[in-house]
């Protein structure tokens, strides 16, 4: 009889457990009663007064008409910078050595000339100036080459909608893989004739470009919807022509540390020449641990 009682107890217990285990109020899950509130497409919250940080093209308070001009300048680093080791040493056993280590491949991450001028620094307006007529994008194509397992040029400027023709001038396969923020990623093998790449949207900071086959290859693209941008040459010098008159806020960016200055203010009234100095400590990587220096050993 006792056995029977125990069996009864067990079965009642299990039945009880089963029924009670579901007894809570539904939370956020499959049976939750959720609400949906529709919102109109054009929200007041997004139609803020546009102020591009540049007010070009108007008269100033004193009534004197300002004239457009050219901004020239030089970006200089103060203090010594370490010379970077070569990315690929000539003759080393890297991938596709016959083509890729036919010559030395320098590290173009930080190129400084003897006077401290820094190359490959982007200086540009983050937003097109208000009240100014933006000249249309040039019809010509921008060339971006894969030569000797390097991207040439290392830094590139383009207009949105302008075709960047990526050419493979090597006898090995290369692909170009971009990592933009606003645009879609581009990842395609490139041919000798040229594979076109078009950025539809403007970017706020330059887009990282790599080759999946050869890990050391990197470059930067910046698509903008206006022509008021430049990249410093090997002496750190740049020229931006036909800037509308008025106050402009420039972004200065370099790949070692990203934003060097997010709001460099220049007032244009005729041409202007500037010298922009940065401390050497601003040209180092700061985000995360230092990358390891790996010696690429023999690969088949």
């Amino acid at each position: 009889m006792k056995q029977l009682h125990i069996y009864f107890l067990t079965s009642f217990l299990f039945a009880g457990l089963l029924t009670i285990s579901g007894c809570s109020k539904p939370g956020g899950g499959a049976s939750a009663k959720v609400q949906v509130q529709p919102k109109a497409s054009n929200l007041a919250l997004l139609n803020a007064e546009e102020d591009g940080g540049s007010t070009g093209g108007g008269n100033n308070d004193t009534g004197k008409k300002k004239s457009p001009g050219t901004l020239t300048g030089q970006i200089i680093v103060e203090g010594g910078v370490k010379k970077l080791p070569l990315l690929v040493v000539k003759g080393s056993a890297v991938k596709d050595a016959a083509v890729c280590s036919a010559g030395d491949i320098p590290d173009e991450k930080l190129i400084v000339n003897q006077n401290g001028g820094v190359a490959n620094v982007y200086i540009y307006l983050a937003k097109a100036p208000k009240n100014a007529t933006i000249p249309a994008a040039p019809k010509r194509v921008v060339e971006f080459n894969n030569v000797g397992c390097r991207f040439v040029p290392h830094t590139l400027l383009a207009r949105t909608g302008q075709t960047i023709l990526i050419k493979n001038k090597d006898t090995v396969a290369h692909n170009t893989h971009t990592y933009p923020v606003r645009n879609s990623q581009f990842n395609s093998a490139v041919s000798a004739k040229g594979t076109p790449l078009v950025y539809e949207e403007k970017e706020k900071i330059p887009v990282s470009v790599k080759c999946d086959f050869h890990a050391w290859m990197k470059a930067w693209h910046l698509p903008l919807n206006h022509p008021y941008a430049a990249i410093t040459d090997k002496d750190g010098k740049f020229t931006i022509k036909n800037l509308p008159p008025g106050k402009h806020k420039f972004t200065i960016w370099h790949e070692t540390s990203g934003m060097l200055d997010g709001g460099y203010v220049v007032v244009i009234d005729g041409s202007k020449d500037v010298k922009i100095n940065f401390n050497a400590s601003q040209f180092v990587t700061f985000a995360g641990p230092q990358p390891k220096t790996i010696r690429i050993t023999a690969l088949p």
Binding site: F8, G29, V34, Q35, K39, K95, S191, K210, P289, K292
Partner: protein, 486 residues
Amino acid sequence: MVLIMFVTLSNKFFQTRTCLFFSIPFFLLITGCGEHPQAQYVTSKVTNSLIDEARTGKFDKETNLNGVEDYLSKLFGTPAEMIAWQRLPIHYGGVQGTILEVKEGETFTVQFEKTVNAFTEPQPAYWMTKSENKEEQKGFTISNYNPVTNQITIQGELEKPPVAGTQFILNPGKQLKRGYNLYMQHCLHCHGTSGDGAGPTAKYLSPRPRDFRNGIFKFKSTKSGKKICRDDLVTTIQQGIPGTYMPSFLLLEKEELQAIIEYVRWLAMRGEMERQMSLDLAGLNSKAVFANMLSDLKGDEKETKEKKMLEELREYLQEEFPSEVNDMSLSISKKWNTVEEDNSTKIVPTKARPVYKNGSENFKQSVERGRLLFRNKQKGACIDCHGPAGEGNGAMTEAYQENKTVSPPQKYELPGLYDGWRNPIKPRDLTSGVYRGGRRPLDIYRRIRGGIEGTPMNAFNSQTLSEDEIWDLINYVMSLPFNKNQ
């Protein structure tokens, strides 16, 4: 019932240890019977790396601007109260109608764009009005609808009744709600509440479940760089992804599948908005940047510099950020819309696959041509990743890659390839015969022509591989599982 249980037992039983043994699990199980926690959307890593002012827009007691989290809650809401933003190309559900005539205060003659059956239970509705050039929406409840007279009756009084010509939506968000409930039932445990691929089960899975929040899906029929279309999402859920933990959901009804994919698309768009907004601010306003800019300074100098940086952020959030967010939403909507409306975004072979007789000489030659293409360093260098025998053990699996999705790029600790979600990824072992995106020749054609988005597998356009070459390559690849021991 519990009481009856104990009463029917003999006294002796009360004193036995067995009683305790049975009652402990009983109590443990009912402890789950309280309130379940509310589901919440998580913020991404980049958003968390921003300073508080950029995330919340709160500078001091007076200044309360819109930061990243504010936009997300105002444009997308929370799981309990989602926002159906009409700008996004999502089929939220519900039926649109127009008010034709206002009878008495509560009865309106309306016209729906689709046939709606008569109903007598109250249904929620919203109408969109324009006041001072700004669109607003107001909620109201329709208590019944008569399709014969085309009249609706509204519950309660309206302070400002609508005029003829006003558009309204009956039962808005119906499909989104359904999608939400189904997602939480079937998808949440791997893909997570926010679609971040970090549900409770995710940590036990390799490969990891998809993180939808960058809007990138691997197996699709659209061209490289284009979004995934609804048909592809339905296929993925119906067929599952062989070789992974994504099962086939063929038992779901078509209507359920449509609801789930709308919700997944909504989560993907929400993730993309968050990503673009936080990356827009991260350049100057992440915690790391602030720390770096202020690290060399001390005391007053440090304070003034910090004040200046915060002032610049405040100005940016007030003046420029709203229009940037506006642009982001327009471009994201456009991208998702294009793949549904524009047929030219689909990858379609321009030349039909040649048909060969089984074991014919032509077929063998095609396979041989494919084998040579597979090894061709100039054409595609397939062996670099997939290995000389297609086993997925190519040279690239031993090289150190850099993480290029962060700026500046960092080298990964371990050698091998990594995907766009920073997870290690192995090139496909083509000898296994398991093809994740589908095993038809057309599917493999799409993987080669379009590449696999978010992975090192790049696209090969018709200039890099002609139609003939790609079909030869496919013949070789599909013969690999059968030639394993040759």
